[in-house]
Amino acid sequence: MKFHISYLSPALILGALLPIGSEPGEPPTRFGRVQVKVAAKNIDRLVDLDLKRAKLKPNAIADDATFLRRAYVGIVGRIPNVTETRKFLTSQQPEKRSGLIDSLLESSGHTSRMFNYWADLLRVKSRLNNNISGEPFVHFLKDSLAANKPYDEFVRDMVSANGPAHVRGNGATGMLLRDRGMPLDSMANTVRVFLGTRLECAQCHDHPFDKWKQKDFYQMAAFTGGLSYRTDVQKQNTGDGITQVYQNLRRKGDRDGLRAIGRMMRTVNSGVDGTGTGKIRLPKDYKYDDAKPSAVVTAHALFGKSPKIQFPAPPTKKSGRRMSRREREAERRRQAQRSRRNRGRSNDKELDTRDSYAQWMTDPANPRFTKVIANRMWKFAMGRGLIEPVDNLMDDTEASNPALMRQLEKLMVSVDFDLRQFLRVLFNTNTFQREAMSDDVPSDEKFYFQGPLLRRMTGEQMWDSLLTFSMSDVDATIQDPARRAESVYTRYEEMINMPSDELAKMVNAQKLRYSDPKKYREQQAAQRRKDQRKRMEQSRQRSQRMAAEAESKREKTRPLYREYVKAKQADDQQKMKQIKDQLLALGVDIDRKPGRRPSSRSRRGRRGEGAMVRASEQQHPAPAGHLIRKFGQSDREQIQASHTEANVPQVLSLLNGFLEDRVLSNYSSELMKTIYESSSDREKIRTAYQAVLSREPRGRELAVWEHEMDQGGRKVVKDLVWTLVNSHEFRFVQ
């Protein structure tokens, strides 16, 4: 019944409905380079008009280096590395800026960047409360972004998602599940994110500043009426195992056992259940005149054309005659019985109202849907929205440049909510490519977009940029999201298919948690100690094995080494080559200098920063002390709670910590290697500037550092990189 095809076979649906991403580097033909240019010009014209009216001048077009850095950080979420910088700055190609924008938009780095953006907005967590995994939702987001799923469809998928959360392909449920147990908050959050409208005040009382009544809120919430965050085990085609164990426990009245299985089953039955009944009850203490406390209200949209819902007629007999009193009584009893069985579930018929709500929300005719996303993407590119705050729209809200706002909305519709295409236009505007504002622009003053705002890199951008100093291809650390989520899916499948006797055994073991909590805790601690010992033993054995292997290898290579030295002394090139190949066959590269082998150790952080992979591939959010968090990643408790404020811990990690450990004193660091290998002092300095600040050193800078190197030698290289990374110019994007 409520088994939506969309999660039974997501791949199929995806394949059928999506214009799967265009070829790398080539914008889709329907909206080709010429159209992009025209659209960008139209935007610039409206910006310029507004400036002229205010007798202001736009900023000058930024130089290539500034553009390069802004484009990389903005589109793929990190600075360019040395190679990328050199390639762009020396390129003689006409329209190289457009070319760069195209290739960046089609890269995996862009998916990573957009994931971080949406993760902040949708409060993505790897682990939700009650042991529910957030990974399927991460998976859904990354897949949708990589495929460039049209935004309206992306939103519909999440708003109307239904079914178990941990089944393959149903990650879209994660958005609603994020507010598990709080359908009203969930509604407020959804409306805020996608319609830019603040309803949360109206949840408990009429909105003090906006026109919303508490009743309006409930009428909206009625679309999701009957929503539950537990999917029925029976509905999931489970083996009989779970049902059997449940029934046994219930029959025996085993309270502890039922609690234990309840806890264990959260993985299985967490999800979203109920496609919407279109009805909800007002609170018991409802205090306004427009309805009675506890009255049932039916779904009605806040604005625009509200979807029509066909409620079934009151119960009638087949013959069409109204039921007699006795029949009604019987029906009432049956209902009551049903409701006892489904404690807390609604008895109302499911009418797919969540679907109609999603359709209404994402309809281009919805007065706020298009406006909100167009404005958000404008802010994403330029640093400030035409409407601020982006999510507190009211009837009298007017954009700072209304004509431009209308133009952006039109553009959004004409690209069919293809956000990549939309951004392509924005990045191609002169407005984006101008020099950044040198002044603070107060948030309550009108901003004319003489150029983009000066921005500090976000926590994620900071981390991903620092990674470019450690490895040559940072984006290679972007994983197939399915790999991360795999264990969640298999655990779910195991649970579902577990034979009843095995499950009963597990339940029995878990019962102790309730019957004797103290003993349970002790047992858990003992188990942890045992596991720890086992891990240590395993690692000891592993290192013994590795030592033995290394020794046997050395036995083979040692004589070859000796011969090599002899051959070298005799300058016998042929012999040398021969031995070198023999050694290579044994896995030893005689040319590699010691200490440069990128060990598995160097890929893992030694300092609690976890793996050296891009922010989007880390745990969500990163742990509290992580560099990403220090630099302002959201704790994912609230919508867009990330920040770019200065604080002492971030400064310390650049002064004394991460930078020194991971880059300056780390010989496997890509940047330091490249610098040390540069032919001259001048080249060393140029490399450092290109890598850290994405530009050439200015004449005076070059002279000062050349002088320093001349005096201080090799150690000055570290001073140089330290200084550049600690500078304002590194953390701020102009």
């Binding site: 309550d444 220090k630 002492v648 005076r700 150690k715």
Partner: protein
């Protein structure tokens, strides 16, 4: 003059008198190339002054007309998510909506609390419980913001939290440590608001690792470090000149703060490894417990306001299971904190505050085991710092649904904290755009809590 002095001096000049400073040669260590930003910098100075408005500038920190205080410092324990009042400090024994939780007696006559706080029950003689708190904000972000700032959240301005007010008005006691620290704080809680970034709490993510990287790296000697700082100053000059930006100024301040901290004799205040294993274990081996221990160490070193956050109290579902799981840790940590402060003679001068954004519905909802948000009535408490313990102030009805005696608004709660600290409640500070604000937003202190 050492480079360090130079670095410290330089910042004064950089902001206002950048031009003068550069010209005087104070910074002329190999005077950097691009002084092209100069002209623009000058242009901006004028504008910056203009926007400061016509109000008389507020006094510098430490120059405010302070009132007599009963407390020097604050440890602010914040229960994020909205902790249930019925299941903790406003129990209703025998009521239909109490669920399975029982009440226990404490060492204070007539003060009963939930069965999950047996250790704290031994210290209730130090605690004044307020059962009549009420808020107007029922959503987390708004509730947290309101509780911390006394002002409802607005789109156009960000208000400073109570700790930032203390820092702004009273300044530091220990000049080398920050005055305001937050352990595990999140968005919309403690912040500098419209004050400069330096009044914001220094955030500590993991109390066990304390303040990471606060020592010079082992491979870097003092001379190298100073040389690098001088180079950095040189490097940043052009940028500062070009971009007249609050955030750029914020970084200038933070580098200064960080370097002061690195040189502080009291740096060990951040290092809880210096505590005995027994004491660490007594505080509880979890973020919040170790955070409380860190708070005590910081207070001991005259950090004035430390907030420690405990999360996960948003018990919409499985309320009773979650209370059963989470309360024992909370009980242990707080009881140890109070005992430890008392044993060290710090309790008299330290105000310990227990706060949350709202309570939870008296009705048991969501499949019969959850509680939703409930701002109409909830509980908080204060101890130490001049508070007379062993009392309950204010009352709710038999179901914990209505305040029926001595209501305490969020502003009053914060005014009580400000009163204990001797902050002038009616002193007005203007925001950069010229709007007037007061600590605790005209709240009335609950004087009955004091002796």
């Amino acid at each position: 003059m050492s480079i360090k002095d130079l670095f410290n001096k330089s910042d004064e000049c950089c902001r206002r008198d950048f031009v003068v400073g550069a010209a005087s040669g104070l910074l002329a260590v190999g005077a950097m190339p691009v002084l092209g930003g100069l002209a623009t910098a000058q242009g901006k100075q004028g504008k910056a002054k203009k926007t400061q408005g016509s109000q008389k500038p507020a006094p510098a920190e430490g120059q405010f007309p302070m009132l007599p205080a009963t407390a020097k410092n604050v440890i602010y324990l914040y229960m994020s998510g909205g902790i249930s009042h019925l299941d903790t400090f406003d129990t209703k024994p025998g009521a239909d909506n109490q669920g399975p939780i029982e009440s226990i007696n404490t060492n204070a006559d007539g003060v009963q609390i939930s069965q999950y706080f047996p250790e704290l029950a031994k210290h209730m003689d130090k605690v004044a419980v307020i059962n009549s708190l009420h808020s107007t904000q029922g959503a987390h972000a708004q509730g947290r913001y309101f509780m911390h700032t006394s002002y409802p959240m607005r789109g156009t301005i960000k208000h400073p939290s109570i700790g930032a007010w203390l820092n702004r008005m009273a300044g530091k006691t220990n000049p080398t440590l920050p005055a305001h620290v937050g352990v595990g704080i999140g968005a919309n809680t403690a912040s500098a608001g419209f004050f400069e970034s330096k009044y914001a709490p220094l955030p500590i993510g993991d109390p066990k690792s304390g303040l990471q990287d606060s020592h010079r790296h082992h491979s870097v000697d003092g001379e190298t470090f100073d040389r690098r700082l001088a180079k950095l100053e040189e490097m940043n000059r052009a940028f500062k000149g070009k971009f007249n930006h609050r955030k750029v100024r914020g970084y200038e301040d933070m580098y200064k703060e960080a370097i002061k901290l690195m040189q502080s004799d009291d740096l060990a205040a951040f290092d809880i490894r210096k505590e005995s294993e027994e004491l660490k274990a007594a505080y509880g081996d979890n973020q919040f417990g170790q955070g409380c221990l860190l708070a005590r160490r910081l207070i001991e070193h005259n950090v004035r306001f430390v907030e420690v956050v405990s999360g996960g109290w948003d018990t919409h579902t499985n309320n009773f299971e979650k209370m059963e799981d989470a309360c024992p840790n909370l009980d242990q940590s707080i009881a140890t904190l109070l005992a430890d402060l008392e044993a060290r003679g710090l309790l008299d001068e330290t105000l310990v505050v227990f706060a949350t954004e709202f309570g939870r519905t008296p009705d048991i909802v969501n499949n019969g085991n959850g509680r939703n948000h409930f701002p109409k009535a909830f509980s908080g408490w204060m101890a130490g710092g001049g508070i007379v313990g062993g009392q309950k102030y204010g009352k709710t009805d038999a179901r914990g649904a209505e305040v029926i005696e001595n209501p305490v608004a969020v502003q009053d709660f914060n005014a009580t904290i400000a009163y204990a600290l001797g902050l002038p409640l009616d002193f007005i500070i203007h925001s950069p755009s010229g709007r007037p604000f007061q600590v605790a937003h005209k709240g009335k202190p609950v004087r009955a809590l004091f002796g």
